[in-house]
Amino acid sequence: MLPLAALAPWLVGSVSLPVAAINWHSIMFLLFATVACLAAVAVVAADNVVRMALYLVVSLAATAGLFFLAGAEFVGAMQLMIYVGGTLVLLVFGVMLTAQAPFVSIKSSGGDRVLAGIVGASLFAALLLAALSVPAWRQPASMQVTGPSATPLGMALVGVRVDEPPADAPAGSSQSSYLLAFEIVSVHLLVVLVGAAYLARAKRRKVPRPIEVAASVEPPESVAEHAAIGRGGRASSVLTGGSA
C-alpha cells in the first residue's frame, strides 16, 4: 500500500478538484427522476402495447432507484417485486394479444387526445399545486421516533410534521399536508380504471339474440370478458406450442 500512498498527492491534485465538487446524490436523483418522468410520458405516447409495458417497467424501476437513493431499501425492493414484477404479467398479456395482427398498435383519435390532454393537465396542475404547497423538510428538531420508521411520513400525510418545532406550528393552524396530493393521485387512478373498464367492456348487441331472450339471463360480465380475450389471443396454444 505504501507505493500507492506515495501517489496520493498526485491523485488528489489531478482528479479530486473537478469530481469532488459534484453532488452525486443530487445528480443520481435527477437522473432517476428524469428517467422515470420521460418513461412515463413515453408510456402515453407509444402506440405499441409491448413498448408501453417496457416503458412502464423503466419508469417503475427508476422509481425503485429513487427509493434506494433515499435509503428506503425495503420499499425499493417492494417496488421492484410488486410493481415491476407485476408489470411482467402485463407484458406477457400484451405479447399474447399483440401476437395477433389487430391489436398491434393502439391509435386514439385527435379529439380523444385533446380531451385526455386537458383532463390530464388539469389534474397534474392540481397535483403540482398540492405537492408544492407542502413546506420543505427541515432537520428534525428532536428525534421522536427511534430507528428508521415510516411514522414521520405517515404523520406528515395528515399534516402533522415531526420536524416542525412546536412554537412554529400554532394549534389550530391549517397545515398543508400530503393528503390532498394523495387524493388527487387516487382520482387519477379512478379515471384510469373507468377508462380501462370502458375499453374492456363486452360489446353487446342492441338487439338481443334469440338464445339470450330464451334464457332471459344475461351472462356475467366476467365471462363475456374472458370470451373476448379467448377470441383475441391464443393464450393457451402459445404456452403449449400448439399449431400456429
Binding site: M1, L4, A5, A8, L11, V12, V15, S16, V19, A20, I22, N23, W24, N48, V50, R51, L54, V57, E73, F74, G76, A77, L80, M81, V84, G85, L88, V89, L91, V92, V95, M96, T98, A99, V238, L239, T240, G241, A244
Partner: protein, 399 residues
C-alpha cells in the same frame, strides 16, 4: 473502503465514494464476465466427460482452456443480424435488460464477510426481486424477434419463471426466519463454525427445503431439465433463435451469471456462506488476530470458500443438465405446483415449529451465536465483532 481511501490517500468524501463505487461495480462485472468465460469452458468439458468424449483440447494448450476466449472472438466477428419484421428498439434492448438484471442482483450478494458491493438490510428480498426481472429480457426478445419459435420460447419461460418464483420465495424465507434477518451478511455469519451449524443441517425441514430450493433455482435460471424456453429439438433455439454475435452472448452471460448467483445464494442461505466446513480461520486464531494481514486472510479464505461452493453448485447444475432429459411443459408445471410449492409450504411450517420447540437446534450449539440476537448484532458488543472494525486499513468493499 471509503474510510480506507479517505484516511490513506486523504481524498475527499465524494471522491472516495465515487472510487469505491466504481471499484465495486468493476469487480462485480468481472465476476460475471470471468465466471461466464470459465463456466462455458467448464460446461464443454463436463458435457464431454459425461458423454465420454474429450471436449476442447487444443485451444490454449492443455485442456483447451482458451476455448471460451476463442468463442468470444468468433462471436465478436459475427454479423449482427436482425429479422426484417423485428421491432428494432426492443430487439436491440432485450439482451441488455437480461444482463442488467443479472448484474444488479450481484450487487447485493456478499462474497465474504462484509465483502459485498452494497450491503442492504433486505438483501435476500432484493436478490429474489431482481432475479425475477431477467425474464423481461427474454420475453421482449421473444416478442421482438417476429419469429414464432422465439415467441413460444419466451411464453414458456414467462410461465415457468413466474410460477417458480412462488416456491423459490418460500424456500428463501426459511433461512431468513432462522437468522431473523434479511441481511445476507448476517445470515452467513450466523452459520459460522463447524459445518453442522449450516442451515442445511439445522433441522430435517431445512434439509428438505434446500433440495426444493435447488429444484426451483435450476428452473428459475432456465437450465435443463427445465430449459423449455430454448428447447432446441422443438423450437430451434427458443427465444434467442434470431440472435447472433455479441447480443446472443449477452444472453449467455446473463444465464451463466444467474447460475453463479443462485448457487452463491444457496451457499449463503444454506451452506454456511463464506464459512468453510471446518473453521480453519478461528482454529488458527486468525479471527482474533489484530495484525494487519489477519482480516485480509480471513476474507480471502471466505472468498475462496464461497466461490468454491458456488462453483460446486454450478457444476452440479451441469451434471443435472447432461444427465436428465427435458421435461414437458405440463411436467414442469406439475413439478412446481403439485410438488415444490406444497413441500416448501409444509417444510416452512415445520421449520417454524422446530424453532418454537427446539430453538437451539438439535445439536448442542458449538460456537453458534445465540438465537436472540437480531439485526445489527454484528456491530453490537455481544456478537462476534468484525475482525477489525475500527482498523481503518481494512479494505471493506462495502462502500
Amino acid at each position: 473502503m471509503v474510510e480506507y481511501l479517505t484516511n490513506t490517500f486523504g481524498l475527499s468524501g465524494t471522491l472516495a465514494w465515487t472510487i469505491a463505487a466504481v471499484v465495486s461495480a468493476v469487480l462485480v462485472l468481472n465476476v460475471i464476465a470471468g465466471g461466464a468465460l470459465f463456466f462455458i469452458w467448464a460446461e464443454r468439458k463436463v458435457a464431454a466427460r459425461i458423454q465420454d468424449r474429450l471436449g476442447p483440447t487444443r485451444t490454449g494448450g492443455r485442456f483447451g482452456w482458451l476455448q471460451s476466449l476463442a468463442d468470444g472472438i468468433k462471436l465478436l466477428a459475427k454479423e449482427d443480424l436482425m429479422p426484417d419484421g423485428a421491432d428494432g428498439l426492443l430487439f436491440r434492448i432485450a439482451p441488455y435488460v437480461s444482463f442488467c438484471a443479472s448484474f444488479c442482483a450481484f450487487i447485493a450478494l456478499p462474497f465474504a464477510f462484509e465483502v459485498v458491493g452494497l450491503r442492504l438490510n433486505v438483501a435476500v428480498f432484493f436478490v429474489v426481486a431482481v432475479l425475477g426481472l431477467e425474464v423481461f429480457g427474454v420475453i421482449i426478445a421473444g416478442y421482438a424477434s417476429a419469429s414464432k419459435w422465439s415467441l413460444f420460447g419466451a411464453m414458456r419461460e414467462a410461465a415457468q419463471v413466474v410460477s417458480y418464483e412462488v416456491p423459490l420465495g418460500m424456500c428463501v424465507v426459511v433461512p431468513v426466519m432462522l437468522a431473523g434477518s434479511m441481511d445476507m451478511v448476517t445470515i452467513g455469519e450466523k452459520q459460522a463454525g463447524w459445518f453442522w451449524n449450516w442451515y442445511l443441517f439445522h433441522d430435517p425441514f431445512t434439509f428438505v427445503v434446500f433440495w426444493v430450493y435447488v429444484t426451483c433455482a435450476v428452473a428459475s435460471v432456465n437450465r435443463a431439465p427445465f430449459d423449455l424456453a430454448e428447447a432446441e429439438s422443438e423450437l430451434v433455439a427458443g427465444f434467442h433463435t434470431e440472435y447472433s454475435g455479441l447480443r446472443w452472448s449477452f444472453f449467455f452471460m446473463a444465464e451463466y451469471g444467474s447460475m453463479v448467483l443462485v448457487s452463491a445464494m444457496a451457499a449463503v442461505l444454506f451452506l454456511g456462506g463464506w464459512n468453510g466446513p471446518i473453521p480453519v480461520a478461528s482454529l488458527l486464531g486468525l479471527s482474533e488476530g489484530t495484525g494487519d494481514t489477519a482480516p485480509y486472510l480471513v476474507r480471502l479464505l471466505g472468498l475462496a470458500n464461497l466461490l468454491g461452493k458456488a462453483t460446486l453448485g454450478v457444476l452440479i447444475m451441469m451434471w443435472i443438465r447432461w444427465t436428465l432429459p427435458r421435461l414437458r411443459i405440463d411436467q414442469v408445471m406439475t413439478t412446481c405446483l403439485k410438488y415444490c410449492t406444497p413441500i416448501a409450504a409444509v417444510m416452512f411450517a415445520g421449520a417454524m415449529l422446530w424453532q418454537i420447540v427446539l430453538p437451539g437446534g438439535l445439536l448442542p450449539s458449538v460456537g453458534r451465536p445465540g438465537g436472540e440476537i437480531r439485526e445489527g448484532w454484528l456491530e453490537g458488543p455481544g456478537g462476534r465483532a468484525p475482525a477489525a472494525p475500527a482498523d481503518a486499513s481494512v479494505a471493506q468493499v462495502r462502500p
